[in-house]
Symmetry: C2
Subunit: 116 residues, 2 copies
């Protein structure tokens, strides 16, 4: 923990990079699911993430793949299925996901204890 202005600016840059990579309404949820389940088919993901449409799911998955956080594998099944899997690199996001989850869970308690 350094307080030099330069180090601070670099830190803010890093934060912005991460946030931008995970931007979009569904990316964190997709990653969160895949970190947890390791691998899922397109339709399984769609069913698992309530409210998401095919277009959005497809788009977000493409962007995650471009950033090497997940892999896309076409499976030779009838009918064809596509398996999405988290990469080892994608798994390095797990601490972030975990912190978001524990903070959110705690926040519920905080709200409850505050609203008498």
């Amino acid at each position: 923990m350094i307080h030099e202005p330069a180090a601070c600016a670099g830190r803010m840059l890093a934060i912005r990079d991460t946030v931008e990579l995970l931007s979009g309404k569904w990316k964190i949820q997709i990653i969160g699911t895949l970190v947890f389940e390791n691998s899922m088919k397109f339709m399984e993901l769609k069913r698992n993430i309530p409210g998401i449409g095919a277009k959005m799911l497809s788009k977000e998955l493409q962007e995650l793949e471009i950033n090497q956080l997940i892999t896309r594998t076409v499976c030779d099944t009838k009918p064809i299925t596509v398996e999405y899997k988290i990469t080892p690199y994608g798994l390095t996001l797990e601490p972030i996901i975990a912190e978001l989850a524990t903070w959110g869970a705690n926040h519920r308690k905080h709200l409850f204890s505050n609203s008498n």
Copy 2:
């Protein structure tokens, strides 16, 4: 780490709660700055966060205050200044901010080692 579907759904809910609380282009940066600097005036924040406009800064600060992550204190100076300060509760976001920062920093190295 449980894999029951109910626990998984709850976990996803918690993640969404946190993400929503920090939604908006500037909130994480504001929190990041205030976690680091502890307290700042309106204009200091504006100068510290490149690109943000007065309207957005004001709006995001209001929302953060509503969620008790920061406090707003009018100082009796000439001209008046307003001090924004992170609350103890806001400080509990520090692990998230820290993870975002270290992941982003690491991502830079990853990109570098991957290109050529």
